[in-house]
């Protein structure tokens, strides 16, 4: 945790500097008769962020904030495993949206989570992971008229069929 605290403060400080540099593409000073330039607002706020990072680092060095005193690891073995499985699952979910459509990705993700991570029965996992996207389809496309990504063209027949039902 102690290590994580200073590392995060460092990353945030770098990000603040990046934001300051990026803001400086527009005028950051006070333009006479007009007020601050276009980059002033984000530039000076990023500057305050940088100062805050320095103060966090100071607190870390003096060990005055709870995370800087904690010897507990940022994530233990179990924590890392959970993050890889759940976080990885989410990355996979979003990556799949553009391939097998939003609804397909929802079904796959739910099944993965329920059956593999949640250790629920196969019947329950399958029912939930198939019923949810179907329900979503009728809610979003049928009622709300919000179209979700349909993925690559091989999913077309399924969607043509579904759209024929609701319109």
């Amino acid at each position: 945790m102690r290590y994580g605290e200073i590392l995060t403060a460092g990353v945030l400080a770098l990000f603040s500097i990046y934001l300051m540099v990026k803001s400086a593409e527009l005028p950051i000073g006070f333009i006479r008769g007009q007020g601050p330039g276009g980059g002033a607002w984000p530039f000076w706020l990023s500057g305050i962020m940088l100062i805050c990072c320095a103060m966090i680092a100071l607190n870390w060095w003096r060990q005055t904030s709870p995370p800087s005193r904690s010897d507990e690891p940022f994530l233990d073995g179990h924590g890392w495993r959970t993050m890889v499985f759940v976080g990885g699952g989410l990355i996979g979910f979003i990556a799949l949206i553009e391939i097998i459509s939003m609804y397909g990705a929802v079904a796959v993700f739910l099944f993965y989570y329920l059956w593999f991570l949640g250790r629920h029965s196969l019947a329950l996992s399958l029912t939930l992971s198939l019923a949810t996207p179907l329900l979503f389809f009728f809610f979003f496309e049928g009622m709300m008229r919000i179209t979700m990504p349909t993925g690559m063209s091989f999913t077309d027949p399924v969607f043509d069929f579904l759209y024929d039902i609701i319109y």
């Binding site: 399958l126 496309e141 008229r145 919000i146 179209t147 349909t150 077309d156 027949p157 399924v158 969607f159 043509d160 069929f161 579904l162 759209y163 024929d164 319109y167």
Partner: protein
């Protein structure tokens, strides 16, 4: 196992059924998906109102087999909408409702990599004129009075608009250039906010579309002083045009529907037919009249040519603005 079989069965069923509309398509193209009806402005603005009106007309007369789904992408002066439509994965079901930022944004943001000539012309639904307005309480009733006041205030005369590079700022820049005025310009985030702050007299004058200021005009709060149209507007017959004052200038906001780059000819033909029907509908004709829009109907080639002339004239107008 049984479940997989069922899923397979469903899939094949779906495939079979899907062939039916495809067979029909051989004769005439029809949309098979909800149509992504992208609007180059946030909810509530003039462009949004028009897009929703068009959608409602199509809906009311059941003109499409799949609905037009309004999708507001107003971010970055329409850059968001242009990028979205430019990269549309399904160009046959993607339309864009444009205003003049269709011309100005690619000019101002060359790095977007947008070439508007790759877009597919569909329909020109009308053009929206601009009018100079002041508040009744200012006591000013004509353009001469406006000029006198603006000159007398010597740089302290405050006008509001929707932002540098936007339609109204172009008009204001031309006007100040032509009459040597020094005007303080306050940018707002939409035509509605501009009209509101004129009603509250936070600003002294605006250049708005008649549609945005009409309610206040009818209630007797706003006075129209000058129209930036070619001819006098039928709804405001006493308001002179800038042409009558000897300046070869007119400026309109285009209200056009454009298809995504790469739209098939069949789809384009379908949409042209659809929007011709909308255009000819009683509702749209009534809307044109009540909101003082001017008709400017033209075919696809005419629209492309129009885009070219608009891009060129905006290049000149924008350079004047920045310089």
């Amino acid at each position: 196992m049984s479940i997989t079989k069922r899923a397979l069965l469903q899939l094949s069923c779906a495939g079979l059924l899907a062939i039916t509309p495809m067979a029909a398509m051989a004769q005439e193209w029809e949309p098979r998906r909800p149509i992504d009806f992208v609007i180059m402005a946030g909810p509530g603005g003039g462009a949004d109102q028009i897009a929703r009106f068009i959608q409602s007309v199509a809906e009311q007369h059941d003109m499409t087999s799949r609905p037009l789904v309004p999708n507001n992408k107003g971010g970055g002066s329409g850059a968001e909408a242009l990028l979205h439509v430019n990269a549309a994965s399904d160009p046959d079901h993607t339309l864009l409702v444009t205003l003049n930022s269709f011309f100005t944004t690619p000019l101002r943001q060359a790095n977007l990599g947008i070439d508007i000539q790759t877009f597919t012309p569909i329909a020109m639904m009308g053009v929206d004129p601009f009018v100079l307005w002041m508040h009744v309480d200012s006591g000013i009733t004509d353009f001469e009075g406006f000029l006198a006041q603006a000159r007398a205030m010597n740089g302290e005369f405050v006008m509001g608009g929707t932002g540098t590079g936007q339609e109204d700022s172009i008009v204001i820049a031309f006007m100040s250039g032509a009459y040597g005025l020094d005007i303080k310009y306050i940018p707002y985030d939409g035509g509605g906010a501009v009209a509101r702050d004129l009603a509250g007299q936070q600003i002294m004058a605006t250049v708005n579309n008649p549609a945005e200021a009409k309610g206040f005009y009818e209630a007797g709060n706003f006075v129209p002083l000058l129209a930036f149209s070619d001819e006098r507007l039928p709804a405001y017959p006493d308001v002179p045009t800038i042409r009558e004052l000897g300046h070869e200038f007119s400026y309109y906001n285009q209200r056009a529907v454009v298809g995504a780059p790469g739209m098939s000819d069949e789809a384009a033909a379908y949409y042209r037919d659809l929007f011709t029907k909308v255009y000819e509908s009683e509702e749209w004709q009534g809307y044109l009249q009540s909101e003082s829009l001017a008709p400017l109907w033209m075919d696809a080639d005419g629209q492309r040519a129009y885009w070219n002339t608009q891009v060129e004239s905006h290049r000149v107008l924008l350079s004047r603005l920045d310089g």
